[in-house]
């Protein structure tokens, strides 16, 4: 004769099965969204799979060092966004955010032009996850760590 299952154990199994199904569904949805839910294209993605000319997309990556050039009108800038694998030239007219700098993250909203230049009508700055005071910004990582050790 089989032991009767306690009601609370039955409920526990039911809830756990439902939860596993739910988490599975959530992960599948996240997996399906992996490219659609991205806020921007990386240069390599744009090079491999270029969006049609004139479609509004976002392009994000690092601003290449030494690539920022101001045009004669004073409000238009040209620069290159790179991810280390591919580089996309960008043109933007307008006021740049404070944190827009060389070798720093940026997201350009705009359209791919016929000549391959990305024409941005909005520019967002993306900062990294590091939080460092001004006094330490010129130090290398090792120097900064040593300075931190000294204060301990």
């Amino acid at each position: 004769m089989s032991q009767p299952i306690k009601a609370k154990h039955q409920r526990l199994v039911l809830v756990l099965v439902a939860l596993a199904a739910l988490i599975g569904a959530g992960l599948l949805a996240a997996w399906a969204l992996r490219s659609q839910a991205s806020f921007f294209y990386l240069p390599a993605e744009m090079a491999a799979n270029p969006p049609e000319v004139g479609r509004a997309v976002r392009l994000g990556g690092m601003v290449e060092v030494g690539s920022i050039q101001r045009e004669a009108d004073g409000v238009t800038i040209r620069f290159v966004i790179t991810d280390g694998k591919a580089r996309v030239p960008v043109r933007f007219t307008g006021i740049v955010p404070d944190l827009f700098k060389e070798n720093s993250g940026a997201v350009a909203e705009g359209k791919r032009g016929p000549d391959g230049t990305f024409v941005a009508d909005n520019l967002l700055a993306k900062h990294d996850e590091k939080y460092v005071p001004r006094e330490m910004k010129d130090m290398t990582a090792g120097q900064a760590r040593a300075a931190v050790e000294e204060t301990k």
Binding site: S38, F39, P97, F100, K130, P133
Partner: protein
């Protein structure tokens, strides 16, 4: 019948004694820690190398995000306890957490918006991280509406908010991993298991303010649980008196 109600009452009585004891120390230490760490954040911490003074909002934004997400995690655990073990306090705890959780989720969104304007150049974008956090706030609103309706309808419906609390927990890992799964305007986490990309000036202040806000959160939840229990007792007493009155 009598034994059942006694069993249900035994835990809340012991809980009430403990809650009364803990509320004031939690609240006082939390307020002190928050005052000290926010004072440090505003006047002591140095400006950040790129962001300058706007980084000071970190000391409110990050604890708010942590408590917004932690609050729903607690609701999900309480919902599990309510559904499986029918613990008498679990549903009350989940209901008590919902309002402060919603408050901190909203605070996270508002401070994030204020921070996004100088740092990114925008108040709001429909980015994975920002959108999933907004969804969390809506989930809190829906949970409170459901729990209110279930309370009005009596005990029979307390299972519906519990199921909703468990289902909504799916959003928590989505918020956390949104910046890792998808290209996001929001930077990846600065602090993960045993490793930090923050200078100690920011890290320790942040840990202190997070602990402080969490203590206040705990005190508020205890106070709200006591209020809900008192409400239930008052209602039960009124009902009993009405029945005795009917006998006369």
């Amino acid at each position: 019948m009598l034994a059942g109600s006694m069993h249900g009452f035994a835990n809340p009585a012991r809980f009430l004694k403990l809650a009364r004891l803990l509320t004031v120390p939690l609240l006082a230490s939390g307020v002190l820690l928050v005052a000290a760490s926010l004072g440090w954040g505003l006047f002591g911490a140095p400006p950040e190398r790129l962001q300058g003074d706007s980084v000071r909002i970190l000391f409110v934004h990050v604890p708010a995000a942590w408590l917004g997400m932690g609050g729903w995690t607690a609701i999900a655990i309480a919902s599990l306890a309510e559904l499986v073990w029918r613990h008498p306090l679990a549903g009350i705890a989940a209901r008590a957490i919902a309002l402060p959780g919603a408050f901190f989720a909203l605070l996270c969104l508002l401070t994030g918006s204020l921070w996004g304007r100088p740092a990114w150049g925008t108040w709001w974008v429909w980015d994975g991280r920002l959108t999933s956090m907004l969804v969390l706030f809506f989930l809190y609103c829906a949970y409170m509406a459901l729990a209110d309706a279930a309370t009005r309808d009596g005990q029979a419906n307390s299972r519906i908010p519990s199921i909703f609390g468990l289902v909504g927990a799916v959003n928590i890992p989505i918020i956390h991993y949104s910046v890792l799964w998808w290209n996001s305007l929001h930077q990846p986490p600065s602090i993960s298991m045993g490793k930090s990309e923050m200078a100690p000036e920011f890290l320790w202040g942040l840990l202190a303010s997070t602990l402080g806000f969490s203590l206040i959160f705990g005190a508020v939840v205890l106070m709200r649980m006591r209020a809900i229990l008192a409400d239930q007792q008052a209602e039960a007493r009124l009902r009993r008196r009405a029945m005795e009155g009917g006998d006369d």
